[in-house]
Protein backbone atom coordinates (compact mmCIF):
# COMPACT_ATOMS: atom_id res chain seq x y z
CA UNK A 1 0.00 0.00 0.00
CA UNK A 2 1.27 3.40 -0.92
CA UNK A 3 0.07 4.90 2.28
CA UNK A 4 2.73 7.55 2.50
CA UNK A 5 1.70 8.81 -0.92
CA UNK A 6 -1.89 9.12 0.11
CA UNK A 7 -1.27 11.30 3.06
CA UNK A 8 1.23 13.36 1.12
CA UNK A 9 -1.06 14.06 -1.78
CA UNK A 10 -4.67 14.13 -0.74
CA UNK A 11 -4.37 16.29 2.31
CA UNK A 12 -7.41 18.44 2.83
CA UNK A 13 -6.93 21.56 4.91
CA UNK A 14 -8.41 20.04 8.04
CA UNK A 15 -5.49 17.63 8.23
CA UNK A 16 -3.11 20.51 8.71
CA UNK A 17 -4.35 21.29 12.16
CA UNK A 18 -2.50 22.61 15.12
CA UNK A 19 -3.74 24.13 18.30
CA UNK A 20 -4.62 27.80 18.30
CA UNK A 21 -2.02 30.12 19.85
CA UNK A 22 -4.77 32.04 21.60
CA UNK A 23 -7.35 29.58 22.97
CA UNK A 24 -5.60 26.23 22.54
CA UNK A 25 -8.37 24.58 20.50
CA UNK A 26 -7.59 22.81 17.21
CA UNK A 27 -7.65 25.09 14.20
CA UNK A 28 -7.67 24.94 10.38
CA UNK A 29 -4.87 26.32 8.24
CA UNK A 30 -5.73 29.99 8.58
CA UNK A 31 -8.09 30.58 11.50
CA UNK A 32 -8.87 29.01 14.79
CA UNK A 33 -12.13 27.13 14.44
CA UNK A 34 -13.08 27.86 18.00
CA UNK A 35 -12.26 31.53 18.49
CA UNK A 36 -11.72 32.62 14.85
CA UNK A 37 -8.35 34.28 15.41
CA UNK A 38 -5.85 34.45 12.57
CA UNK A 39 -2.98 31.96 12.77
CA UNK A 40 0.65 32.03 11.70
CA UNK A 41 1.13 30.74 8.14
CA UNK A 42 2.05 27.07 7.98
CA UNK A 43 4.25 25.92 5.14
CA UNK A 44 1.57 24.26 3.02
CA UNK A 45 1.21 23.93 -0.74
CA UNK A 46 -1.34 26.07 -2.53
CA UNK A 47 -3.83 23.24 -2.98
CA UNK A 48 -3.80 22.52 0.73
CA UNK A 49 -4.12 26.22 1.48
CA UNK A 50 -7.48 26.22 -0.28
CA UNK A 51 -8.41 22.85 1.17
CA UNK A 52 -8.27 21.24 -2.26
CA UNK A 53 -6.92 17.83 -3.28
CA UNK A 54 -4.02 17.89 -5.75
CA UNK A 55 -6.32 17.61 -8.74
CA UNK A 56 -5.97 19.65 -11.89
CA UNK A 57 -9.60 20.08 -12.78
CA UNK A 58 -10.56 22.89 -10.45
CA UNK A 59 -13.95 24.50 -9.92
CA UNK A 60 -12.85 28.03 -10.76
CA UNK A 61 -16.07 29.70 -9.60
CA UNK A 62 -15.80 28.07 -6.18
CA UNK A 63 -12.10 28.94 -6.02
CA UNK A 64 -12.84 32.58 -6.75
CA UNK A 65 -15.58 32.67 -4.13
CA UNK A 66 -13.22 31.17 -1.59
CA UNK A 67 -10.53 33.64 -2.53
CA UNK A 68 -12.75 36.67 -1.96
CA UNK A 69 -14.09 35.28 1.28
CA UNK A 70 -10.61 34.60 2.63
CA UNK A 71 -9.32 37.94 1.33
CA UNK A 72 -11.83 39.69 3.50
CA UNK A 73 -11.17 37.54 6.54
CA UNK A 74 -7.41 37.82 6.20
CA UNK A 75 -7.37 41.53 5.48
CA UNK A 76 -4.91 43.25 7.85
CA UNK A 77 -7.64 45.78 8.75
CA UNK A 78 -9.52 42.99 10.52
CA UNK A 79 -6.75 42.72 13.06
CA UNK A 80 -5.90 46.43 13.18
CA UNK A 81 -6.78 46.38 16.87
CA UNK A 82 -4.98 43.08 17.47
CA UNK A 83 -1.42 42.35 18.50
CA UNK A 84 1.56 42.98 16.25
CA UNK A 85 1.95 39.26 15.80
CA UNK A 86 -1.61 38.94 14.57
CA UNK A 87 -1.08 41.76 12.11
CA UNK A 88 2.08 40.12 10.88
CA UNK A 89 0.36 36.73 10.44
CA UNK A 90 -2.56 38.31 8.70
CA UNK A 91 -0.17 39.95 6.25
CA UNK A 92 1.74 36.71 5.69
CA UNK A 93 -1.41 34.75 5.04
CA UNK A 94 -2.81 37.43 2.72
CA UNK A 95 0.26 37.28 0.59
CA UNK A 96 0.20 33.48 0.58
CA UNK A 97 -3.46 33.65 -0.40
CA UNK A 98 -2.72 35.93 -3.34
CA UNK A 99 0.13 33.75 -4.59
CA UNK A 100 -1.96 30.63 -4.23
CA UNK A 101 -4.94 32.09 -6.06
CA UNK A 102 -2.91 33.57 -8.89
CA UNK A 103 -1.20 30.22 -9.42
CA UNK A 104 -4.22 27.97 -9.17
CA UNK A 105 -6.60 29.97 -11.33
CA UNK A 106 -4.34 29.79 -14.39
CA UNK A 107 -4.43 26.41 -16.18
CA UNK A 108 -0.77 26.38 -17.21
CA UNK A 109 0.63 27.81 -13.98
CA UNK A 110 -1.50 25.42 -11.99
CA UNK A 111 -0.11 22.44 -13.92
CA UNK A 112 3.48 23.70 -13.67
CA UNK A 113 3.02 24.23 -9.96
CA UNK A 114 1.60 20.77 -9.42
CA UNK A 115 4.49 19.23 -11.34
CA UNK A 116 6.95 21.21 -9.25
CA UNK A 117 5.50 20.08 -5.92
CA UNK A 118 5.43 16.57 -7.35
CA UNK A 119 9.18 16.89 -7.74
CA UNK A 120 9.61 17.76 -11.42
CA UNK A 121 11.73 20.65 -12.60
CA UNK A 122 11.22 21.06 -16.32
CA UNK A 123 14.87 21.69 -17.08
CA UNK A 124 16.05 18.76 -14.97
CA UNK A 125 14.20 16.42 -17.27
CA UNK A 126 16.36 17.52 -20.13
CA UNK A 127 19.53 17.08 -18.10
CA UNK A 128 18.47 13.61 -16.97
CA UNK A 129 17.90 12.60 -20.58
CA UNK A 130 21.38 13.84 -21.53
CA UNK A 131 23.00 11.88 -18.71
CA UNK A 132 21.15 8.77 -19.72
CA UNK A 133 22.22 9.13 -23.35
CA UNK A 134 25.82 9.60 -22.27
CA UNK A 135 25.78 6.52 -20.07
CA UNK A 136 24.05 4.19 -22.49
CA UNK A 137 25.62 5.59 -25.67
CA UNK A 138 22.18 5.83 -27.23
CA UNK A 139 20.84 8.94 -28.90
CA UNK A 140 19.05 11.23 -26.51
CA UNK A 141 15.31 11.16 -26.63
CA UNK A 142 14.45 14.61 -27.82
CA UNK A 143 11.79 16.36 -25.80
CA UNK A 144 10.88 18.37 -28.83
CA UNK A 145 9.75 16.07 -31.64
CA UNK A 146 11.99 16.13 -34.75
CA UNK A 147 9.34 17.49 -37.11
CA UNK A 148 8.71 20.46 -34.83
CA UNK A 149 12.47 21.06 -34.62
CA UNK A 150 12.68 21.11 -38.42
CA UNK A 151 9.86 23.60 -38.52
CA UNK A 152 11.51 25.76 -35.87
CA UNK A 153 14.80 25.69 -37.73
CA UNK A 154 13.25 26.62 -41.08
CA UNK A 155 11.26 29.43 -39.54
CA UNK A 156 14.38 30.79 -37.87
CA UNK A 157 16.12 30.79 -41.24
CA UNK A 158 13.26 32.80 -42.69
CA UNK A 159 13.32 35.21 -39.77
CA UNK A 160 17.03 35.73 -40.26
CA UNK A 161 16.42 36.53 -43.91
CA UNK A 162 13.67 38.94 -42.92
CA UNK A 163 15.95 40.77 -40.50
CA UNK A 164 18.66 41.02 -43.14
CA UNK A 165 16.21 42.41 -45.68
CA UNK A 166 14.93 44.95 -43.21
CA UNK A 167 18.46 46.05 -42.51
CA UNK A 168 19.08 46.57 -46.21
CA UNK A 169 15.79 48.42 -46.50
CA UNK A 170 14.36 45.77 -48.78
CA UNK A 171 10.89 44.35 -48.69
CA UNK A 172 9.80 40.88 -49.72
CA UNK A 173 6.02 40.44 -49.54
CA UNK A 174 6.28 36.73 -50.35
CA UNK A 175 8.56 36.09 -47.40
CA UNK A 176 6.35 38.11 -45.08
CA UNK A 177 3.33 36.15 -46.20
CA UNK A 178 5.10 32.86 -45.62
CA UNK A 179 6.19 33.88 -42.13
CA UNK A 180 2.69 35.11 -41.37
CA UNK A 181 1.25 31.74 -42.36
CA UNK A 182 3.80 29.90 -40.28
CA UNK A 183 2.99 32.11 -37.31
CA UNK A 184 -0.70 31.29 -37.61
CA UNK A 185 0.13 27.59 -37.67
CA UNK A 186 2.22 27.98 -34.52
CA UNK A 187 -0.49 29.90 -32.73
CA UNK A 188 -2.96 27.14 -33.54
CA UNK A 189 -0.46 24.62 -32.21
CA UNK A 190 -0.11 26.64 -29.04
CA UNK A 191 -3.87 26.52 -28.54
CA UNK A 192 -4.01 22.82 -29.35
CA UNK A 193 -1.35 22.12 -26.76
CA UNK A 194 -3.50 23.71 -24.08
CA UNK A 195 -6.44 21.52 -25.11
CA UNK A 196 -4.20 18.45 -25.00
CA UNK A 197 -2.91 19.46 -21.60
CA UNK A 198 -6.42 19.70 -20.24
CA UNK A 199 -7.10 16.25 -21.62
CA UNK A 200 -4.16 14.91 -19.60
CA UNK A 201 -5.54 16.45 -16.41
CA UNK A 202 -8.20 13.75 -16.37
CA UNK A 203 -5.55 10.99 -16.20
CA UNK A 204 -3.90 12.63 -13.26
CA UNK A 205 -7.13 13.40 -11.41
CA UNK A 206 -8.26 9.80 -11.76
CA UNK A 207 -5.14 8.68 -9.91
CA UNK A 208 -5.78 11.14 -7.10
CA UNK A 209 -9.41 10.03 -6.86
CA UNK A 210 -8.33 6.43 -6.68
CA UNK A 211 -6.03 7.32 -3.79
CA UNK A 212 -8.86 9.14 -2.08
CA UNK A 213 -10.87 5.95 -2.31
CA UNK A 214 -8.04 4.00 -0.74
CA UNK A 215 -6.74 2.33 -3.95
CA UNK A 216 -3.00 2.00 -4.34
CA UNK A 217 -1.43 3.98 -7.17
CA UNK A 218 2.01 2.81 -8.23
CA UNK A 219 4.86 5.32 -8.57
CA UNK A 220 5.10 4.23 -12.20
CA UNK A 221 1.49 5.21 -12.93
CA UNK A 222 2.12 8.51 -11.25
CA UNK A 223 5.28 9.10 -13.24
CA UNK A 224 3.60 8.34 -16.54
CA UNK A 225 0.71 10.71 -15.92
CA UNK A 226 3.20 13.38 -14.87
CA UNK A 227 5.69 12.96 -17.71
CA UNK A 228 3.02 13.33 -20.37
CA UNK A 229 2.24 16.76 -19.01
CA UNK A 230 5.93 17.65 -18.72
CA UNK A 231 6.51 16.77 -22.38
CA UNK A 232 3.55 18.77 -23.48
CA UNK A 233 4.48 21.84 -21.44
CA UNK A 234 8.00 21.73 -22.84
CA UNK A 235 6.70 21.66 -26.38
CA UNK A 236 4.20 24.39 -25.63
CA UNK A 237 6.87 26.67 -24.16
CA UNK A 238 9.00 26.10 -27.21
CA UNK A 239 6.21 27.15 -29.53
CA UNK A 240 5.41 30.13 -27.33
CA UNK A 241 8.99 31.39 -27.48
CA UNK A 242 8.99 30.99 -31.20
CA UNK A 243 5.81 33.00 -31.65
CA UNK A 244 7.42 35.70 -29.53
CA UNK A 245 10.50 35.70 -31.78
CA UNK A 246 8.33 36.00 -34.87
CA UNK A 247 6.44 38.94 -33.41
CA UNK A 248 9.68 40.67 -32.51
CA UNK A 249 11.11 40.17 -35.99
CA UNK A 250 7.95 41.47 -37.62
CA UNK A 251 7.84 44.56 -35.43
CA UNK A 252 11.47 45.55 -35.78
Amino acid sequence: MANSFQTATSTPAQDVTQSCWSCGAMRTAYFCKACGKVQPATPVDYFTFFGLPRKLNVDLAALEKDFYLLSRKLHPDVVAQGSRMEQEWSLQQSSLLNDAYRTLKDPVRRTEYLLRIEGVELEEQSKAASDKARNTGEAKKQIVPPDLLEEVFELNMQLEELRMQKKMGEDDPALLEEIGKEKLKLEEKHEAHLRDLKAYWGNWDTLIEREQHGDAVSPEERRQARDKMVDLLNRRNYVRNLVRDVNEALEQ
Binding site: S130, E138, R235
Partner: protein, 137 residues
Protein backbone atom coordinates in the same frame (compact mmCIF):
# COMPACT_ATOMS: atom_id res chain seq x y z
CA UNK B 1 25.21 39.46 -17.90
CA UNK B 2 28.74 39.50 -19.14
CA UNK B 3 30.16 36.91 -21.49
CA UNK B 4 33.71 35.63 -21.25
CA UNK B 5 36.21 36.74 -23.89
CA UNK B 6 36.15 33.31 -25.47
CA UNK B 7 32.38 33.33 -25.79
CA UNK B 8 32.52 36.80 -27.34
CA UNK B 9 35.22 35.66 -29.74
CA UNK B 10 33.15 32.68 -30.95
CA UNK B 11 30.00 34.77 -31.01
CA UNK B 12 31.36 37.62 -33.10
CA UNK B 13 33.57 35.35 -35.16
CA UNK B 14 31.88 31.94 -35.28
CA UNK B 15 33.82 29.07 -36.87
CA UNK B 16 32.36 26.68 -39.39
CA UNK B 17 28.97 28.26 -39.91
CA UNK B 18 27.07 26.69 -42.74
CA UNK B 19 25.48 23.49 -43.88
CA UNK B 20 26.26 20.33 -45.78
CA UNK B 21 24.14 18.04 -47.90
CA UNK B 22 21.88 16.26 -45.45
CA UNK B 23 21.21 13.40 -47.83
CA UNK B 24 24.87 12.59 -48.44
CA UNK B 25 25.89 9.18 -47.07
CA UNK B 26 29.02 10.46 -45.33
CA UNK B 27 27.26 13.39 -43.64
CA UNK B 28 25.64 13.09 -40.23
CA UNK B 29 23.14 15.73 -39.11
CA UNK B 30 22.13 16.52 -35.55
CA UNK B 31 19.23 18.86 -34.94
CA UNK B 32 18.51 19.55 -31.29
CA UNK B 33 16.52 22.08 -29.33
CA UNK B 34 16.21 23.31 -25.79
CA UNK B 35 12.59 23.95 -24.93
CA UNK B 36 13.60 25.92 -21.83
CA UNK B 37 15.08 28.75 -23.87
CA UNK B 38 13.82 28.07 -27.40
CA UNK B 39 17.29 27.58 -28.86
CA UNK B 40 17.73 25.35 -31.87
CA UNK B 41 21.06 23.97 -33.00
CA UNK B 42 22.05 22.12 -36.15
CA UNK B 43 25.43 20.43 -36.27
CA UNK B 44 26.71 18.43 -39.22
CA UNK B 45 29.77 16.27 -39.63
CA UNK B 46 31.45 14.80 -42.68
CA UNK B 47 33.16 11.51 -41.92
CA UNK B 48 35.84 9.66 -43.85
CA UNK B 49 34.45 6.15 -44.21
CA UNK B 50 37.83 4.41 -44.20
CA UNK B 51 39.32 6.12 -41.19
CA UNK B 52 36.16 7.21 -39.32
CA UNK B 53 37.80 10.61 -38.96
CA UNK B 54 35.55 13.66 -38.96
CA UNK B 55 36.96 15.72 -41.82
CA UNK B 56 34.61 18.64 -41.71
CA UNK B 57 31.95 20.06 -39.43
CA UNK B 58 29.39 22.82 -39.86
CA UNK B 59 26.81 24.36 -37.61
CA UNK B 60 23.96 26.79 -37.56
CA UNK B 61 22.50 27.85 -34.24
CA UNK B 62 19.65 30.14 -33.38
CA UNK B 63 19.99 31.13 -29.78
CA UNK B 64 21.96 33.10 -27.26
CA UNK B 65 25.67 33.90 -27.44
CA UNK B 66 26.59 30.95 -25.25
CA UNK B 67 24.69 28.51 -27.45
CA UNK B 68 26.38 29.89 -30.56
CA UNK B 69 29.81 29.78 -28.91
CA UNK B 70 29.24 26.24 -27.59
CA UNK B 71 28.32 24.89 -31.01
CA UNK B 72 31.09 26.84 -32.73
CA UNK B 73 33.61 25.35 -30.32
CA UNK B 74 32.07 21.89 -30.76
CA UNK B 75 32.69 21.99 -34.53
CA UNK B 76 36.29 23.03 -33.92
CA UNK B 77 36.83 20.22 -31.48
CA UNK B 78 35.28 17.38 -33.47
CA UNK B 79 37.26 18.16 -36.61
CA UNK B 80 40.17 15.76 -37.00
CA UNK B 81 38.85 13.42 -34.33
CA UNK B 82 37.52 9.96 -35.00
CA UNK B 83 33.84 9.42 -34.38
CA UNK B 84 34.55 7.58 -31.14
CA UNK B 85 36.93 10.27 -29.92
CA UNK B 86 34.32 12.91 -30.64
CA UNK B 87 31.81 11.02 -28.51
CA UNK B 88 34.06 11.53 -25.51
CA UNK B 89 33.60 15.30 -25.60
CA UNK B 90 31.60 16.25 -22.53
CA UNK B 91 29.54 19.33 -21.97
CA UNK B 92 31.66 20.21 -18.93
CA UNK B 93 34.72 20.45 -21.20
CA UNK B 94 32.87 23.14 -23.13
CA UNK B 95 31.80 24.86 -19.91
CA UNK B 96 35.41 25.02 -18.78
CA UNK B 97 36.83 26.19 -22.08
CA UNK B 98 34.26 28.98 -22.44
CA UNK B 99 33.95 29.76 -18.70
CA UNK B 100 30.17 29.47 -18.95
CA UNK B 101 28.22 30.56 -15.87
CA UNK B 102 25.85 28.00 -14.26
CA UNK B 103 22.76 29.46 -15.95
CA UNK B 104 24.36 28.78 -19.34
CA UNK B 105 25.38 25.18 -18.73
CA UNK B 106 22.36 23.96 -20.67
CA UNK B 107 23.87 25.55 -23.81
CA UNK B 108 26.87 23.24 -23.50
CA UNK B 109 24.54 20.27 -22.90
CA UNK B 110 22.81 21.19 -26.13
CA UNK B 111 26.14 21.21 -28.00
CA UNK B 112 27.04 17.79 -26.63
CA UNK B 113 23.60 16.50 -27.60
CA UNK B 114 24.11 17.90 -31.10
CA UNK B 115 27.43 16.07 -31.50
CA UNK B 116 25.83 12.82 -30.33
CA UNK B 117 22.82 13.30 -32.58
CA UNK B 118 25.02 14.00 -35.62
CA UNK B 119 27.17 10.94 -34.98
CA UNK B 120 24.08 8.85 -34.33
CA UNK B 121 22.62 9.95 -37.64
CA UNK B 122 25.85 9.13 -39.46
CA UNK B 123 26.08 5.69 -37.82
CA UNK B 124 22.51 4.92 -38.78
CA UNK B 125 23.30 5.82 -42.35
CA UNK B 126 26.30 3.48 -42.37
CA UNK B 127 24.14 0.57 -41.23
CA UNK B 128 21.24 1.12 -43.57
CA UNK B 129 22.59 2.99 -46.56
CA UNK B 130 25.84 1.15 -47.10
CA UNK B 131 24.58 -1.55 -49.50
CA UNK B 132 22.78 1.08 -51.56
CA UNK B 133 25.76 3.39 -51.90
CA UNK B 134 28.03 0.45 -52.58
CA UNK B 135 25.83 -0.51 -55.51
CA UNK B 136 25.65 3.04 -56.75
CA UNK B 137 29.44 3.26 -56.96
Amino acid sequence: MSYSDKVLDHYSNPRNVGSMDKSSADVGTGLVGAPECGDVMKLQIKVNRDTNVIEDAKFKTFGCGSAIASSSLATEWVKGKTVDEALSIKNMDIVKELSLPPVKIHCSVLAEDAIRAAIGDWKKKQQTAQPVTAEAK
